[in-house]
Symmetry: C2
Subunit: 190 residues, 2 copies
Amino acid sequence: MSPFPYYCNRMFGENVGLEFFEVIKLRRSTRAFMDERVSEEDIVKLLEAARLAPSAGNIQPWVFVVVRDADIKRRISEAALHQSFISKAPVVIVVCADLDRSKQRYRSRGVDLFCVQDTAAAIQNLLLAAVDLGLGACWVGAFHEDMVKVALKIPENLRPVAIVPVGRPAEKPNLPFRRPLEEIVHYETF
Amino acid sequence: MSPFPYYCNRMFGENVGLEFFEVIKLRRSTRAFMDERVSEEDIVKLLEAARLAPSAGNIQPWVFVVVRDADIKRRISEAALHQSFISKAPVVIVVCADLDRSKQRYRSRGVDLFCVQDTAAAIQNLLLAAVDLGLGACWVGAFHEDMVKVALKIPENLRPVAIVPVGRPAEKPNLPFRRPLEEIVHYETF
């Protein structure tokens, strides 16, 4: 199998959905993007996939900020320790966790665990959906949360948990090393 | 589209991979299972999907414990506030976060955020892979971590973050309510 067969499909204008495991295998952290607009239709598909993620008690503590504005992207990039590839992506999606929603039902376990897990599941759906659409994305976690909150005017009760630049990939990274199953799987007990 | 077309495929012995968005749409939290063994081959596929998730700095802070033993499943079920459907699943996968791996590189942000997100991404891949294989699963987060650690002899540096019962679904839950995009998406700023 060619490492990125979907490029060909897209080039020839086909829009056939990829098989699930193909998407799982093709996903990469993309940090270089073509200078090409991501359509509103594709962004909606990314967000639709994200909102179909599971969440504790179906609380759905996720909020998404879709940023195309160059100046705001620059400020997000600065908040993310000057990772300049962020501001070069055509669109940046900032994912926030609604701490209040999780806290009301689950107290500290909701704030410290569930709302981080729920939003992470949504982010993973979004990253996979990007692959299916012939897009690339990157899960950025290294950033100053306060700076992002100021740049996007995020309310107090929301915590920005990830910055996800999205665009048509301008690179084809290899799959980085993965620890073998023997190292990460136990049977019955340790 | 029939709500669970893959049942038909499986019934007739076909093994065609589902399209990605079909998997995203078909995933449900399954809490009732057929009395049917999950093959070792399928378990390996679930874990392969899980380990292809992204992680901060490619740390891969995930460890999986695959439990089929009835007595250990019963103890996990007890730790999970007596959610008895857990012990009735043919296999239960307990997902742990290796706090040391994340802490060494990212200190408190690694322990409190990244290793929870990384393992959540792996869990989400696993849940989606289950759908593709005609299986059902459920992400259980309500449990006493200490009791799970004792039952599975989990080392001190690992934190159990999810219990995932897996099996052939014996129910077809409807998609629970999802908040509309208008409520969860903002453009440029709040």
